[in-house]
Point group: C2
Chain length 127, copies 2
DNA sequence: GTAGGAGCTGGAGTGCACTCCAGGTCAACC
DNA sequence: GGTTGACCTGGAGTGCACTCCAGCTCCTAC
């Protein structure tokens, strides 16, 4: 199965411009071209694109994604290094989640505070 | 208790430049000045700065923080609107956490995959 | 055979959130 | 009274990750 750039964009959630941009900066290998010179993405290409969106979503900078992509390009010999990268990245994502969770507590507290104010106000009215 | 800009920076985790920047764009009220024209931050100022860092950490754009700051400036009458903002923001933070969590699953899967490769490799050696 | 739409390239532009800088003031210490 | 260090202002510069554009080509459908 192959996909036009528009289809690859739709399925990966990246924009067409971003797909070309990622290719230009070496984040994705140049996909095959059809007889008219248009990009045709394979299922493998798409899998990689989708994986990249996960890394992006979790805040990995492009510079690091590129490093990962380059290791991947060098084959099985770099598997350990890649695993190490993902391992460290996973730790940072976990930290990030913990950080967000602790900010959630602050938001909960603030919202509760506003609710208390509302409640006091209503009591003031009805008392 | 009052704080110099350097102390406010240290305690809020923002840089000195960022403190002045936030003031310039209306995210924080201009703090008092000492006889020499230097900023002196109050405990209240500091509390607001720290709250802003929570909003920032959770990904609230400056434009929205400014909106919140403006409502806050208009006093108790806007409490409902502010609560609403925090309420919506909290929902988006929760979504963000869920998103990260689901990406974590992908990372776990990938890492497990690399571990399996390593394992296979070791077996290949020792067999 | 032509009109329309998708895709192509190289390069410029954008939005966000800072960050840095030059040139100056001010208070304190030696 | 001179030097040092913290702070001041207005404005320019930075890094990141796209996003947009002009001008072109190439297939498809009428």
């Amino acid at each position: 199965m192959t996909y036009s750039i528009a289809q690859a964009a739709e399925r990966s959630g990246l924009s067409i411009d971003t797909l070309r941009y990622y290719e230009r900066i070496g984040l994705v290998d140049p996909p095959a071209r059809d007889s008219g010179g248009r990009r045709t993405y394979s299922d493998d290409d798409l899998g990689w694109l989708i994986f990249l969106t996960r890394l992006r979503t979790t805040g990995m900078p492009i510079r690091m994604m590129r490093e990962y992509a380059q290791l991947r390009h060098r084959g099985a010999a770099t598997a350990g290094r890649r695993k190490q990268m993902l391992f460290e990245h996973r730790a940072s994502v976990r930290e990030r989640i913990a950080e967000l969770q602790s900010c959630l507590d602050v938001l909960d507290y603030k919202i509760a505070h506003y609710e208390q104010i509302e409640h006091t106000f209503v009591e003031g009215i009805t008392a």
